[in-house]
């Protein structure tokens, strides 16, 4: 047999590893049912956990119906969700676009790196939440202040990972690009960006997580609508069931946005998904 032939790419790409999707969904469903049942038994049936501290599944369902139908804390559930998702999406998109471009520029040019890095070293250790007071003083309690805080928190991981991504590209690839006379925009689009892409997406995932964390924290401080505002109001009303509704909503929104990013990631890097 000719030892230099590879296995055909078609055969390789159809090979699946691990469980099928339907089987994994089934298992996840079973886990969910068991957890809810256990929760019900511990709170409503045995009273092992006092329902005054941790609401029963039935109470949470009631709170969910209340906020979805009549509304709670200045809005119905979908209005709160829409508001938070919109703010996160805008803040994250803005921060990530600026951050990725700056990170790539720092990776590509020593001069840019030397110029930007000192500023970065000073700003980086400040936790994003520490910007909230300044944001409020500058921009008030409105959306602009929240966007600013999201920007600050989401910006840093995007910059650092894009920068590292460029630096991690194999040196011979730069030499090959020089040999093939790949310059200018082609160099960015076909060498730097795809080479850094795996690391860029790592940065985007971290940025997205940071955006959610800071948004909820910012909304806790002051908001009219939003998921953080549900939590804030429910805490003031001492309403544990509604607190849980708020937390579950944050979890589902965060998961959905992370899943959307993962979907984009798979499509952006076809060479990594084929085995």
């Amino acid at each position: 047999m000719d030892t230099t032939t590879a296995q055909s790419p078609q055969a390789a790409s159809t090979r699946r590893t691990g469980w099928s999707l339907s089987r994994r969904l089934g298992t996840a469903g079973v886990t969910l049912v068991v957890v809810v049942a256990l929760w019900h038994v511990l709170t409503a049936v045995t009273g092992f956990i006092s329902p005054a501290r941790f609401a029963t599944p039935a109470e949470v369902w009631g709170a969910l119906q209340q906020i979805a139908g009549d509304g709670y804390s200045n809005g119905r559930l979908h209005q709160h969700v829409l508001r938070s998702v919109l703010l996160v999406t805008m803040g994250f998109t803005f921060a990530a676009s600026v951050g990725v471009v700056l990170g790539l520029a720092m990776g590509a040019s020593r001069r840019v790196e030397a110029f930007v890095n000192p500023i970065f070293l000073v700003l980086r250790p400040i936790p994003p939440l520490a910007w909230i007071p300044l944001a409020i003083v500058w921009l008030g309690l409105g959306d602009a202040a929240k966007m600013m805080v999201i920007f600050v928190s989401a910006f840093v991981p995007s910059v650092i990972n894009s920068y590292t991504g460029v630096r991690q590209i194999d040196k011979p690839l730069f030499e090959a690009a020089a040999m093939l006379d790949v310059t200018g925009w082609r160099y960015w689009r076909e060498v730097l960006i795809p080479g850094a892409l795996p690391s860029i997406f790592t940065g985007l995932r971290l940025s997205l997580q940071a955006s959610w964390t800071t948004l909820v924290a910012a909304e806790l401080v002051g908001a009219i609508t939003g998921l953080g505002q549900i939590l804030n109001q429910a805490a003031q009303d001492i309403y544990p069931a509604m607190i849980l509704v708020g937390m579950i909503s944050v979890a589902i929104c965060g998961w959905a946005m992370t899943a959307a990013l993962a979907w984009i990631e798979r499509r952006a890097m076809p060479w990594r998904t084929l085995q």
Binding site: D2, T3, Q7, L180, D181, T183, W271
Partner: protein, 265 residues
Amino acid sequence: MAVIQFQHVGRVFRQNGKEFVALKDINFEVGDREFVAVVGPSGCGKTTCMRMAAGLEHPTDGEVKVDSEIVTQPGPDRAVVFQQFALFPWKTVWDNIDFGLRSLRVDTEERKRRIEQIIALMGLGGYEQAFPHQLSGGMQQRVAIARAYVLDPKVLLMDEPFGALDAQTRVVMQEELVRLARKNPRTVLFITHAVEEAVYLADRIVVMSRRPGSIREIIDVKTVRETENWDAHTCIEDVMDLPSFVHLRTHVWKLLREQQLGDEH
């Protein structure tokens, strides 16, 4: 007319105020459509010689010329085949081969024709849309050779191109390169530490020694190959059995061995 010229080439590194002479007074030429192999122990600076011809490194003394012009920077007229292939993982086989052609502003039809031709020649048919990581090492190096050949460069620079391959694959690739080089001769500077590979592939062999890196001897293989009709044999093992091949190989080995003894004393 010589295509690649090394004229009194030297390379000195300075580190902590100390000078280290990596290359000293290198003089040789590669003629038009000539295949020259540079052999030497590791650390003799043979790869540095190739990288200077490519424009990836620069001499501190003397000049490296390609087509009578002093080399200043890398370019598609001096195509490099790297030891570690250096294929772009995010590009398919076709797009990797096409990448340099697009820099040369060859029109679409001509590009397609040339890529199809080289893909057929290198036995890459059926893998056009595969990504490099889906291929074996041998296949990846075929793509890298195709990417260099397709540019129709003035010179081909190969830096131990089969060094990362397993023994069987290596033999197959050596046979194919001979087939390619005889059918479609190019000006080639081939770096290797494998003596048999050099004798089998090259028209001339430059044997180097180290500390400082310099030329030990330049050996003519082509005359022997043609008078003894090596190319009548298709398999590398048959050529390696011929007395004329064994004689040349032993000669190169002895040159390298003398250096080793010299190092130990």
